[in-house]
Amino acid sequence: MTVDHRAPPPPSGPVPWDKDFALRLLADMLRIRRLEEKSAELYGAGKIRGFLHLYIGEEAVAVGALHALSSADNVVATYREHGHALVRGMAMGAIMAEMYGKQEGCARGRGGSMHLFDAKTRLYGGNAIVGGGLPLAVGLGLAAKMQGEDRLTTCFFGDGAVAEGAFHETLNLAALWKLPVLFCCENNLYGMGTAIERAESQTDLCVKAASYDMPALRVDGMDVVAVHETTKQAVARMRKDGGPVFVEYQTYRFRAHSMFDAEIYRQKAEVEAWKTRGPIHTFTARLKAEGKLTEDEFLELDAVANTEVDVAVAFAEAGSWEPVEDLLKDVHTP
């Protein structure tokens, strides 16, 4: 099947939120953006090593979706999860220290960028096996259901994961057992460097999900309003009916897959066109047009985000290394 790689038209229509809420979501998108821009810089400076996958361009998905959840809900994310961790409530310093490999990091520096964990905010990773988080999410959903808890499990994964067997096994189980799992597919059109139409015989991902007998919704993932409203609708349905829902967020990654990617598989013009649809500046423009945001207020939000980044970097810089004597700590079967 052919897939239209062109950026969708810019979002329009009124923002159905009060100013406070709208600015909260804008602020979160800015926090992710500034955190990741700084992370890229620190990668260049050798402070952050290993793999670093940036979410830049996709911020509306994590922000819009996660603001539709309650703090009791579980979140399972991928290796492109800095934004999810941040919006979920993890301190930016704990994220930055983790990327530095310092023991003040959320996983004591053992996981790095791809493995952010936080029991407090019920973030179950940070999974760097494509599709690997999906079966875990079903199990978390099963545990919640069997224990009679009012708790959804939200599982983020990319379009690449849809080709994995785990996707199909998991959607089948979740629908079969009517588990409260929200499947959040961040479709950014590429599994690393492979365009979706080169990986999928059926490129309509909602058709795949619907074949497992669950509701499947598609939304413009560049529009934080649409993301949030659609996710809210999915969440309400799940809290009422119990079973799983699949949501495809159509989005786009502005940066390379990781820091090792020369991006020879896509046209610069395509990337540039999508950048004109950036979730932050289009949302900013809409809020300004509606009189819900002034330029000064925007600059203030941005300054706050930058300050938070500076504080996080200072925290990571001041952090310490886990003693080598603790190497085997937390492995109970040496």
């Binding site: 579980n74 990091g105 959320c106 996983a107 004591r108 520096g109 053992r110 996981g111 493995h115 964990f117 936080d118 029991a119 179950y124 990773g125 999974n127 096996i129 690997g132 999906l134 079966p135 875990l136 999410a137 079903v138 199990g139 978390l140 959903g141 099963l142 545990a143 919640a144 069997m146 224990q147 499990t153 067997g165 785990a166 096994e169 998991t170 089948n172 189980l173 079969l176 700590k329 937390d330 492995v331 109970h332 079967t333 040496p334």
Partner: protein, 324 residues
């Protein structure tokens, strides 16, 4: 008081007890419910405990083993039954890349208190795709415990401490043992940390586990008739290995043969031998020998399958070779 009971019944009693005593425990796997368990380990459970806790799954090993991991993370104590080790390869990603790693990789925040049980081994003319002995692969992985109950007592007793363990525990049950009967006393409390001497001896230590234990004991009887007193050590716990007990047996007997149904190259037997080299080299009067499966896919025809697997006469020959 003792009673006669089969390995199958012992395992069934152990699961029954766990399900009765702890509402967090549930059993999940292919045909554990309506069918009563592939090997009848869970016969009658569905009626007694209901479909929520005796959960039949689709043929979806990656999915339901991963779901077990997630359910353990979510506060339950799942027993996940994988029909055989052969099919567990479809779930290996979730076991190795999630269950085994989560505690350490999360900085100690998350644990996966999960028990995965599976049938292992050859000897029943099931041919190459149903005859693997891959417990050595699992024993390679830090973060999981690997058990091989080879006796009635262990079949009855190992599950409770496995479920109480905060980490994932994989239990390998050799298909050749299910109908073995034995006496069981009133107490079946066992640990999941130590190797155990099943037959005391002084001339040679035969170190083995799982389905090879009865073969090793049979070999020891033959050797006794020839004037060689063999000590038979049952590893029981394949990870972490009880090196101290292995070394004690070897130091006492000064000779050792490792019997392992896995293939020789890169086997658990190789690991046991390496530990003997590291810890008991100067105690030895002869090189350590081993009896493993022939390095070939396990054939269907009985005479070929028998020839491929460790057998008592091969163990006897290996022992006698150390005295030549």
């Amino acid at each position: 008081m003792t009673k006669k009971i089969s390995y199958r019944e012992a395992m069934r009693e152990a699961m029954h007890e766990a399900l009765k005593n702890d509402p967090r425990v549930f059993l999940m796997g292919e045909d554990v419910g309506c069918y009563g368990g592939t090997y009848a380990f869970s016969k009658g459970f569905l009626d007694e405990f209901g479909p929520e806790r005796i959960r039949d799954t689709p043929l979806s090993e990656l999915g339901f083993v991963g779901a077990g991991i997630g359910a353990a993370l979510g506060g339950l104590r799942p027993i996940v039954e994988v029909m055989t080790v052969n099919f567990s390869l479809l779930a290996l990603d979730q076991i190795v890349n999630s269950a085994a790693l989560y505690r350490h990789m999360s900085g100690g925040q998350f644990s996966v208190p999960l028990v995965i049980r599976m049938c292992t081994g050859a000897g029943r003319q099931l041919a190459a795709q149903h005859s693997h002995s891959l417990e050595g692969w699992y024993a390679h992985i830090p973060g999981i415990k690997v058990l091989a109950p080879a006796t009635i007592e262990d079949a009855r007793g190992m599950l409770a401490p496995a479920l109480a363990d905060p980490d994932p525990v994989v239990i390998f049950e050799h298909g050749g043992l299910f109908n073995v009967e034995g006496e069981m006393g009133d107490s079946w409390e066992v640990d999941i940390t130590s190797a155990k001497v099943r037959r005391a001896g002084k001339d040679v230590a035969i170190i083995t586990h799982g389905g090879s234990l009865p073969k090793a004991l049979a070999a020891a009887e033959q050797l006794a008739a020839a004037g060689i007193e063999a000590e038979v050590l049952d590893l029981r716990v394949l990870r972490p290995l009880d090196t101290a007990t292995i070394v004690a047996s070897v130091a006492k007997c000064r000779r050792a043969v490792v019997v392992d149904e896995g293939w020789k190259s890169g086997s658990l037997a190789a690991e046991v031998m390496a530990r003997i080299m590291e810890n008991a080299f100067y105690e030895l009067d002869a090189p350590v020998a081993r009896v493993c499966s022939a390095e070939v896919p396990i054939p269907y025809a009985k005479h070929l399958e028998d020839a491929a697997l460790p057998q008592p006469d091969k163990i006897v020959a290996a022992v006698k070779g150390l005295f030549a």
